[in-house]
Symmetry: C2
Subunit: 297 residues, 2 copies
């Protein structure tokens, strides 16, 4: 059976009644599992995490866009997080028997439906139709307020929906991307310049690993520093590679790794790849993990 | 939802019609998943692997005992594997939301039902009622042929069923045990005495790790040797502990690890525990693995 994740972000994080109406679209639906949702008052934004079968997820997400279109008025929206619409972004992520290409299809299906509701849609990341639209920050630049003008530029013609701004609902970004692994390495030093220097060596832009984004951060209460990373393709750049490169760079400062953090969800294969490296396991298969037998076919 | 494994062994590995009648008990049953079954002609024995909910599994296993009782005649059984009955052994293994104590209950439920069918039953391993019955080899000693006399000894009075031998069906062992991890470490040497010496140091009986059984083996085609292990409680003696102890013992011979093998199914937690050690992960939780969201509740 095909399984996909979808993490729609709604520009409402304060009015629990409105949030409940949106989240209701994901409750009690065959093939849709609501993992979690976190309303954020400061950001005035709610992130919903869904997992399930592509078609029911797509259907429920479109339904939620209709609800958000009714209950959220972007002319009155204030909040700390960058946003461009009532349904700000809808990313699809492959989980099982689904490729990133499949997720690009789902993004187009949702994009078309949202466009048909009168909301301009931009496809981004792996669903982007031009290189300029790959990066969400670039797409969202100027935010809701800026889109009244931005949408008129020929290079920012929406991928779906009207070619003019929807004042009440703003615009929506829909994307497909690979599962991102958030991996932090805490170092036995309080010198943030060391974490910075290591982050620069290990990340792609600095000549490091292709699918690693990294920054250095102080961890003040711990008296330590952290190399905080996003691994954007764990199949090609494995978690252990990032860790081993950090250890190797840390050596020149006589600094060691105190501990690491895997934040949020991590795909089993990412864990297997690193266990296989460190334990030198020959020929280990995904379905040798007992729990994979408990997953619905 | 509770999930358990059960691996019944039947003393028929040649007559595919008979085997099919037995295996049919596990097909198309709600709550019962037939993982695999392997008829072995030389052993004249079929090992069936089941996973699912306790009650449906118990029901199906009892049904299969009735079928085996009809189709297998132990007075005519020959085969290379030690055996004491038509249904030789029925081990239960905890998988999810089930403890070994629960499995002892299931073993008793099945034991009683099998006894009521007129087949003497011995509980062994964690279900054993005396220390002498913990070890299957000890229980099965003398095999089918020997039980006509052995069953008369007061210390070998069956736990359930008649106090005399069932000539057609023999006797059946029912047990509860923890999931066993089969883990082999291949060494860069062809001297089997080194694998032997390391196995002796790492295993429980030799003063090594509490839940490790180990032997040294030659791997002739590879020109290497192997420390072949059963880790009988991976929660208490982790896979990485066994591996690190072998590396440390191998050093005295100047020998290194070429690779390792995890054989068959391994519980996710065993993999997590070792990944956590090698990657120094702080606070990693089982349900951070994405796939655990796909398991039925």
């Amino acid at each position: 059976m095909k399984k996909v994740m979808c993490i729609p972000n709604y520009s409402e994080g304060r009015d629990l009644d409105k949030i409940d109406k949106i989240v209701e679209c994901f409750r009690g639906k065959e093939g849709v599992k609501l993992i979690d949702y976190q309303p954020d008052k400061d950001h005035n934004r709610t992130v919903v995490e869904l997992i399930g079968e592509p078609e029911p997820i797509i259907k429920a997400v479109i339904e939620s866009v209709k609800v958000a279109q009714e209950v959220i008025d972007m002319t009155k929206h204030e909040g700390g997080h960058p946003r461009m619409g009532a349904v700000d972004v809808i990313p699809f992520i492959p989980v099982k028997n689904v490729t990133t290409e499949d997720c690009v299809e789902y993004a187009n299906e949702v994009g078309k439906a949202v466009g048909d509701l009168g909301i301009p849609v931009y496809l981004y990341e792996d669903a982007a139709t031009t290189p300029d639209r790959k990066n969400l920050a670039k797409v969202r630049k100027g935010q809701y307020e800026g889109f009244f003008e931005k949408i008129k530029l020929p290079e920012w013609k929406p991928d779906y929906g009207p070619q003019e701004m929807n004042a009440k609902s703003g615009v929506t970004g829909v994307s497909a991307r690979f599962h991102l692994v958030a991996f932090n390495v805490n170092l036995n030093t309080d010198k943030v310049e060391i974490a910075d220097a290591i982050a620069k060596k290990v990340r792609h832009v600095g000549g490091g690993l292709r699918f690693v984004k990294a920054i250095g951060l102080p961890l003040e209460e711990r008296g330590q520093v952290q190399v905080s990373m996003n691994l954007v393709n764990f199949e090609k750049t494995a978690v252990y590679q990032a860790l081993e490169m950090i250890k190797s760079e840390a050596k020149r400062y006589g600094v060691s790794v105190y501990g690491t953090e895997l934040i949020g969800l991590i795909p089993l294969q990412a864990l297997i790849d690193s266990a296989q490296y460190y334990m030198q396991i020959e020929n280990f298969e995904y379905d040798q993990v007992l729990e994979t037998l408990l997953i619905e076919e």
